[in-house]
C-alpha cells in the first residue's frame, strides 16, 4: 500500500493518496472497501468498473463531497477528514469536477456558467453576468476559446447539445484553477463523435497545464487509449491497477467480472 508519509518533498507528494478508504452509506450499503492507491501529480488515471462498483463514490470523495467512514484520504497534501469551512471550500476549488449530466445551469448564458467556476475564490453571491469582474469574464472567454466554444458565449446554455455542454463544463472546471480534474463518466451521455472530442480535450488540457486527471469510464477501449494508468473497481474493491500500456482489452475486461457465470454481462459493455 501507499507509503505517502515518507515523502517530505512537497513536489513529490502524490496529488491524491488513499489508504484503506471505506465508505458505508446510511442505508447500510458499503460503497468502498479498503481502497488504497496513490496518484502522482500529472498522471491521467482511468477508473474502470460497472455501475455500482464505487467509481462515482470514489470521485466524490476526492472532491470532498463525501467523507470516508474509515481510512485516510489526502488530497494535495491535506487530510480531507480534517478539512472544514473555508479549507474545505479551498480544497474543492482545487479539484475540478466534470459530471456525466454536465450540471450546468440551463437558464444562464454559457459565459455566466463558466464564470461561476470562479465562485470558490470570490466572496459573496453572484447573479447576472455583470456581477463578475471584467477580468473574470475575459478569463472565462479564454477558457471557452480553449474548448472551442467561444463563439457561443452568450447563448442560453440549455440550447446547446450534450457535447457542447460538456465542453462548457470543462471550461467551468478550468475557471476554478484546479490542480486535479475529476471526470465522472464524462462521455456516457454523448454520441461517439462528441465523446471523442471531449476525451481528447481532457487529455490535451491535462498535459498543457500539468493537471492530474482521474476519470471514471465504463468503456474499456476508450480507457486504454486515453489513460496512463487504469484502476479497476468491483463492488467497492480495487481489482486491477496497471499502466494502460501493459493492458489489453481482455485483461481489463476482467474488471467486469468476465467469469464464466457472468459472461453475458460483458457483451453489453463492449457493444
Amino acid at each position: 500500500m501507499a507509503d505517502h508519509a515518507v515523502h517530505d518533498d512537497v513536489d513529490r507528494e502524490p496529488a491524491v493518496s488513499l489508504t484503506q478508504v471505506t465508505k458505508e452509506f446510511d442505508g447500510g450499503v458499503t460503497a468502498l472497501r479498503g481502497v488504497g492507491f496513490d496518484v502522482p501529480k500529472g498522471q491521467i488515471l482511468a477508473l474502470l468498473g460497472r455501475s455500482g462498483s464505487g467509481k462515482s463514490t470514489l470521485l466524490r470523495h476526492i472532491c470532498c463531497l463525501h467523507r470516508p467512514t474509515s481510512g485516510s484520504l489526502r488530497v494535495l497534501g491535506t487530510d480531507v477528514a480534517r478539512a472544514r469551512g473555508h479549507h474545505l471550500r479551498r480544497l474543492r476549488r482545487r479539484t475540478g469536477f466534470v459530471f456525466q449530466q454536465f450540471n450546468l445551469v440551463g437558464q444562464l448564458s454559457v459565459l455566466e456558467n463558466v464564470c461561476s467556476g470562479a465562485l470558490g475564490r470570490l466572496v459573496g453571491p453572484r447573479l447576472g453576468l455583470f456581477s463578475y469582474a471584467r477580468s473574470l469574464r475575459v478569463e472565462a472567454l479564454d477558457h471557452l476559446d480553449r474548448v472551442g466554444m467561444a463563439d457561443l458565449a452568450f447563448q442560453r446554455t440549455s440550447t446547446l447539445s450534450g457535447g457542447q455542454q460538456q465542453r462548457v463544463a470543462i471550461a467551468r472546471a478550468l475557471m476554478q484553477h484546479p490542480a486535479i480534474l475529476l471526470a465522472d463518466e464524462p462521455v456516457a451521455s454523448l454520441d461517439p463523435d462528441s465523446a471523442d472530442t471531449v476525451m481528447r480535450l481532457l487529455r490535451e488540457i491535462a498535459r498543457e497545464r500539468s493537471l492530474t486527471v482521474i476519470g471514471s469510464l465504463h468503456q474499456v477501449d476508450l480507457a486504454l487509449g486515453w489513460a496512463d494508468r487504469v484502476i479497476g473497481l468491483r463492488d467497492g474493491e480495487v481489482t486491477l491497477d496497471a499502466p494502460a500500456a501493459t493492458l489489453d482489452t481482455t485483461t481489463a475486461m476482467e474488471v467486469y467480472g468476465m467469469a464464466p457465470r457472468t459472461e453475458s454481462m460483458a457483451l453489453d459493455v463492449t457493444g
Partner: protein, 576 residues
Amino acid sequence: MIAPPPVRPPVPRSLPTGPRRPQKSTGVVLGFLCLFVGTGLWSLRSLGVDFAALVQGVANAEVFIRQTWPLSLPSGEEILRQTGITLGTVFLATLLSIVLSLPLSVWASSVTTPGTPHRLTSRGLIVAARAVPDVVLAILFVRLFGLGALPGVLAMGLHSIGMVGKLYADAIEQTSPGPREALTSIGATRGQRLLTAVVPQALPAFIAIGLHRFDINLRVSAVLGIVGVAGIGFEMAHAFARLDFGLGIAWALILLVLCLLTEMVSTSIRRVLLRGSGDGEIEAHGPLTRWFRGRRSPGTVAPAAAPRDTAPPEPPRRVSPPFTFARARNWMYAVVVVAAVVASLFGSGALEANAAAGWSGFFTTLGLFWPPGDAGMLDVLLLALLETVQIGFAATFLGALLAVPVGTLAARNISGNRVVHGVFRGFVLAVRGLPELVLAIVFVVVIGLGPVAGALALALGSVGLLGKLVADSLEEIDAGPLEAMSALGSSRTQRYFTAVLPQAAPALIGGLLYQLDVNIRSATLLGLVGAGGVGFYLLQATQTREYDVITLITLMTFAVVFALELVSMLLRRLVR
C-alpha cells in the same frame, strides 16, 4: 368517437395498482359519496334551498333588473381613478407577499434551508399566514391606519404569504440538484449556490406564482372594500349600502371585466414562462400567448450551428452580451415593473396613510383582539358557524352536480368534439373569473338576504374551480382501458362509467375535498354582504368594535377548516 389520446405518459398514480386495492378503494369511494350526498341534501334542507326558492328567485330577478336598469355608470375619470387604486393596492400587496415569501421559502425548503430550526420556524409562519383570513387582517389594519389603501396592502400581502411562501418553497424543491452539486464541487458557499444555481431555475415559477396570486388578490380586494380598503370594492360596497343597485352592479361589472382581463394576460404570461422551464406539453392557444412566445426565443438570436472541430477563425473578444432584441426586452420588462411599483405607491394612496401613528398603536390595538370573547352570544355564533358549514356543504354539492357534467364536456379526451370542448373550457374559465363576492351580492339582491343566496352563489362559483379540476383529472386518465372498451363494442356511456370515472375517482374526490375547503372558507365571508353564516357577526363586531369577537370567530372557523383538513387527509390516503 373518442379523440386521440393525449401525448403524455400514463399517470401511474391513478391506475388501479393490484387486484385487492381497488375493491377497498371502491368501498371508500362509495362511502364517501354517500356521506357527501347525504350531508349536501341535509344542508340544502336546513338552509331552505329548494325548488320554490329558485322559482321565487327567478321572479325576483325581473324586479331586480327593473330596479338596476339602466345602470348608473360612474364617470370615466372616476372609473380610471378607482381602477388605478385597486390595481395599485393589489400589485403592492402581491409584491409585499413575494418579498416576504422569498426568504421564508428559502428557509422552508429542504434543499436550501440553513437548518431544521429555520425550516420549522418559516413553515410555521407560512401556515399561520394562511390561517388568519385576509378580512380579519384588514379589519385590524383599518383600525390602525384608517380607511385607505395601506390596510389592503398589508392584509393581502401578509395573508398571501400562506400560499406564495408554500408554492415558492415547492418551486425551490423542484429545481434540479445537478447544478447545486456542481457548485458545491466548485467550492461555492450556500449563498452563492442559492443565487447562481437555484434562483435562475426557479425564477419562471416564482413569477408565475406571483401573477396567479395577483389574480386572486384582485378578487379578494372586493371583499376588503366592505371593511374599508379603498378601491372598486369600497365604492361597490358603499353603493349597495345606499341601496343604489344600479351603481353597485356597475362597479361589480367593472371589477369583473378587470378580473377577466388580468386573468387573460397573466394566464398567457404564465403559460409562456412555465413552458420555457421545460414543460414542453403546453401548447400556445391565444394570440397573447403567441405574442409573448414570439418575443421570447433567446436560442435563436445567435447562430446555433457551432463549428465542431475547427477553432473559430476570429473569436469574438467582447465579454458583455451583445445588445440584442431579447436583452432590450428584458430591460423593458424591468423598467415596466419599476414604473408599476412607483405608480402603485403614489397612485394607490398607500403612502398617504399616517403609518407612523398607526404602528405606534399596534400593540394597543392587538390587545383589543385578545383574549377572544363572545360578547354573550356564543350560542348565536355557534348556530351561525353551523350555517356557514352547511352553506359550504350545500354549495359544494350543488356545484359538483353542475361541475361534473360541465367538466366532463370540457375534457379534451372525453367530450370528443373540439367545439364542445372549447366552449365548455371557455365557460369554466369565465366562471373562474367571477369574484365570488360579486356573485353573492347579485344573489342577495335577487333572492333576498340569507344563506340561500350564499349557497347558490358559491355553488355557481364552484363550477369554475371544480369544473377545471374535473376536466384536468379526466384528461389525465390512461387511454388504454378506453380503447379496450371501444374494441369490446361498448357504448359511450358504458365507457364513461366503466373506464373513465373509476380511473379519475381519486383525483375527483381530491378536487371535491379541496372545493369544500375553499367553499367553507369563502362561506365565512359571505355574511359580510348578508348572504348568511358567521360572517355577518364579523361585520357587526367590527361596527360595534367588539374586536375580541372577531378573534373568536376566526378561531372557530379555523378549527372547522382544520378538522376538515384532517378528515380529507385521511380520506385521500384511503382512496389513493
